[in-house]
C-alpha cells in the first residue's frame, strides 16, 4: 500500500538522521539521572509527610511522572520542522506525489521510537534505586506514553508549520506546556492538591495519562485510570494527526 510504503520511507530517513547524531542518547541518559539522583530522594520525603515510605512505592509514583514529562517535551518537534521548512526540504517533499499523511506520520513515529527508547532507559535506570514493575504493566504504560508522543509531536509539527518561526514557537510552547505540566501531577500526585485544583486538572488530558501510567506502575492494570487514559488520549491523537497532516498538505511557505 502506497501510504504505508511512503510512511516507512519518511520514517527510515528520519531514523537514519537521528542515529547519525547520537548526542540525544547521552542527553537521554543524563537528564533522567539528574532527576533520579537529585530530586527523587527529596520527593520521597515530601510524599510521605516525614514518615519513611518504601523505595519501591516512591519510585512507582515518581518514574511515571518522569515518563510523562519526557513525553511532553516531544511537542518541541516543531523546532525541527521549522529548520526543515527553512532548508526547503518540506517543499521538496510536497512537490512529489508522496502521501501527505506519511510526511507527518513518518516523522512522528521517529519521535515515538526515540521516546520509547528513552522511557525504557529511565525505567531501567530506576531499577537499581528500588523500582519494581511487571513487564506487562510497563509495556501497557509505554503504549500510553507512545500515544502521548504521537499526539504531542504531531501537534508540534502543525504548530511549527503554521508559525514558521522559532521566535514565535518558543514562548508559545513554554506558555502552554508549563500549566499542562503543573496540572498533570507529574512530580506530586494531585491527590495532595486542594479540591478546586483537582477539578481544574480534570480538564488536562495529560493528568489522565499520568494517572493511567501510575496505576500501571503500581501494578493495577485493571484500574479505571488505565482505560480512562486510553479513552482520553486515543481520540485526541487521531484528531491531532488529522489536523497536522492537513497542515502538511496545505500550502506552506
Amino acid at each position: 500500500m502506497k501510504f504505508l510504503r511512503d510512511t516507512w520511507l519518511v520514517f527510515q530517513r528520519q531514523m537514519q538522521l537521528l542515529l547519525r547524531n547520537p548526542v540525544w542518547v547521552a542527553v537521554g541518559i543524563i537528564q533522567p539521572l539528574f532527576y533520579l539522583l537529585l530530586f527523587a530522594p527529596l520527593m520521597k520525603k515530601a510524599l510521605s509527610g516525614g514518615q519513611p515510605i518504601s523505595d519501591e512505592l516512591a519510585y512507582q509514583i515518581f518514574v511515571p511522572g518522569m515518563l510523562v514529562m519526557v513525553a511532553l517535551f516531544s511537542a518541541f518537534s516543531g523546532f525541527g520542522i521549522i529548520a526543515e521548512l527553512r532548508a526547503g526540504v518540506i517543499e521538496r517533499n510536497r512537490v512529489t506525489p508522496v502521501s501527505r499523511v506519511a510526511l507527518l506520520l513518518g516523522r512522528s513515529l521517529r519521535d515515538v521510537v526515540q521516546l520509547l527508547f528513552q522511557a525504557v532507559l529511565v525505567t531501567l535506570l530506576a531499577v537499581p534505586f528500588g523500582l519494581r514493575v511487571a513487564v506487562g504493566d510497563a509495556l501497557l504504560a509505554y503504549l500510553l506514553i507512545g500515544l502521548m508522543t504521537l499526539l504531542l509531536s504531531s501537534t508540534g509539527y502543525a504548530l511549527g508549520l503554521t508559525l514558521r518561526s522559532e521566535d514565535a514557537m518558543a514562548p508559545m510552547l513554554n506558555t502552554v506546556i508549563q500549566p499542562i505540566m503543573l496540572l498533570a501531577g507529574i512530580f506530586l500526585p494531585l491527590t495532595l492538591a486542594p479540591a478546586w485544583l483537582q477539578n481544574v486538572a480534570k480538564a488536562n488530558p495529560f493528568k489522565w495519562a499520568t494517572d493511567g501510567v501510575r496505576a500501571l506502575f503500581a501494578g493495577h492494570p485493571g484500574d479505571d485510570a488505565v482505560w480512562q487514559a486510553l479513552a482520553v488520549l486515543t481520540p485526541l491523537t487521531v484528531l491531532a494527526l488529522l489536523i497536522s497532516s492537513r497542515t502538511f498538505a496545505k500550502s506552506v511557505r
Binding site: 532548508a87 526547503g88 512537490v95 512529489t96 506525489p97
Partner: protein
C-alpha cells in the same frame, strides 16, 4: 503545447504592523510553452516569477485561472501534475546532514521508484552533474555551486516531462554559471522541457529558446530573444564621422532606416537588420564623399526591450 496557462492569478494578504495589505503577486498570466524548449521567465525582484512557478508546481493554490501541464489539469489532478514535473526551488532544498547520494535516492523513492532503480538513477545523476566525487559527503560541506547542482539533479531524478528551475544560477560565479548553462542544455537534449526564471539578461539571451518578460505580476512581452529585440527597435548602426549633420541628411529618405539620431560625433541609424544595412550605409556615405572614422553594429539588448515595455531598466530595478 506542454504548458498552457490562462488567467493565472494569485494575491497575498500580508500584514505590516497593524495594517493588512493585499499584494497582487500574479495578475493574469497566459503562457504557452512548447515541448522540448528552454523557456525563460525574465523579470526583476518581486515580479511574481516564483509565485507563478509555485502555482504551476502545485505548491500554491491559484486564486483564479487554469493551467494544463504535460496533459494534466492543475486544479483537477494535482497528483498527476506532480508525477510529471520536477521543481527546483529558488532557495535550494538539501538537508545539511544528508549526503548528496542519500538525498537523490530518497527523492527518487518519493516518486514511487524502487530502491535499486533509485540507486541507479542517483549514480547516473551524480555522474551527469559531475558530483560523483562529493556524493558521499554531507551536503553542508558542499560549495554553493555543488549544492545547486544537487538541487537540479533532485529536480530531474524521476525523468519528468517538464522541469521548473527557479533561478538556477543565482549566486554562482561566472564559471559555474557557464557550467550550469551547459547542464540545462543537457536537460533539453534528454528531451525535457525546461522552464526557468532568471533576472540575468545574458542568461535569458544565451540560454532560452523563448522567453516571457514579467513585471509587476504580468507578462509584458513574449517571444524568442531575437524576435523580442527585433520587434522593439531593430539594430543600431552607429557611424563616427566629422560631418554628422551632413551625413544624417543622406538617410532621411532611406527606406531601410527606421529612425535617425545624431550626437556630436556619431550618427545612429535604427535599422531592421544591421548586417544587410551596413553595405548600403557605406555605399551611400562613400558616394557623397563623407569620410568616416568608424562604424559599429549594435544589437539591442533585452534590457532595451524591458525599457521599451515598462519604461524602466532592468539593471536599475
Amino acid at each position: 503545447m506542454i504548458i498552457e496557462t490562462s488567467g493565472l492569478r494569485k494575491s497575498f494578504r500580508s500584514r505590516a504592523g497593524r495594517e493588512s495589505k493585499t499584494v497582487e503577486a500574479v495578475r493574469g498570466v497566459d503562457l504557452s510553452v512548447a515541448e522540448g524548449e528552454i523557456f525563460g521567465f525574465l523579470g526583476p525582484n518581486g515580479a511574481g516569477k516564483t509565485t507563478t512557478l509555485r502555482m504551476l508546481a502545485t505548491l500554491l493554490e491559484p486564486d483564479g485561472g487554469t493551467a494544463v501541464i504535460a496533459g494534466a489539469d492543475l486544479r483537477k489532478e494535482p497528483g498527476e501534475v506532480r508525477r510529471r514535473i520536477g521543481y527546483v526551488a529558488q532557495g535550494g532544498s538539501t538537508w545539511d546532514e544528508s549526503t548528496g547520494r542519500e538525498e537523490l535516492v530518497l527523492h527518487a523513492r518519493m516518486y514511487g521508484i524502487g530502491k535499486a532503480d533509485a540507486q541507479r538513477r542517483a549514480a547516473e545523476a551524480l555522474d551527469t552533474f559531475e558530483l560523483a566525487e562529493y556524493a558521499d559527503r554531507r551536503c553542508k560541506t558542499y560549495s554553493g555551486g555543488q549544492r545547486r547542482r544537487v538541487d537540479i539533479a533532485l529536480g530531474i531524478i524521476h525523468s519528468p516531462k517538464v522541469v521548473f528551475l527557479d533561478e538556477p544560477t543565482t549566486g554562482l560565479d561566472p564559471q559555474s554559471r557557464a557550467h550550469m548553462w551547459g547542464e540545462v542544455r543537457k536537460l533539453r537534449e534528454m528531451g525535457m522541457t525546461v522552464f526557468l526564471t532568471t533576472h540575468y539578461l545574458d542568461e535569458a539571451d544565451a540560454l532560452c529558446d523563448r522567453l516571457a518578460i514579467m513585471d509587476n505580476g504580468q507578462i509584458v512581452a513574449e517571444g524568442t530573444p531575437a524576435d523580442l529585440k527585433q520587434e522593439v527597435l531593430g539594430d543600431v548602426v552607429s557611424v563616427n564621422a566629422r560631418e554628422v549633420a551632413k551625413a544624417a541628411d543622406l538617410f532621411d529618405n532611406a527606406e531601410y532606416v527606421r529612425k535617425v539620431e545624431t550626437t556630436e560625433q556619431s550618427l545612429r541609424l535604427y535599422v531592421e537588420d544591421g548586417a544587410s544595412a551596413i553595405p548600403h550605409v557605406l555605399r551611400t556615405l562613400d558616394a557623397e564623399g563623407v569620410a568616416i572614422e568608424g562604424i559599429e553594429l549594435h544589437r539591442p539588448s533585452l534590457d532595451d526591450v524591458f525599457l521599451a515595455k515598462t519604461g524602466r531598466s532592468l539593471r536599475e530595478s
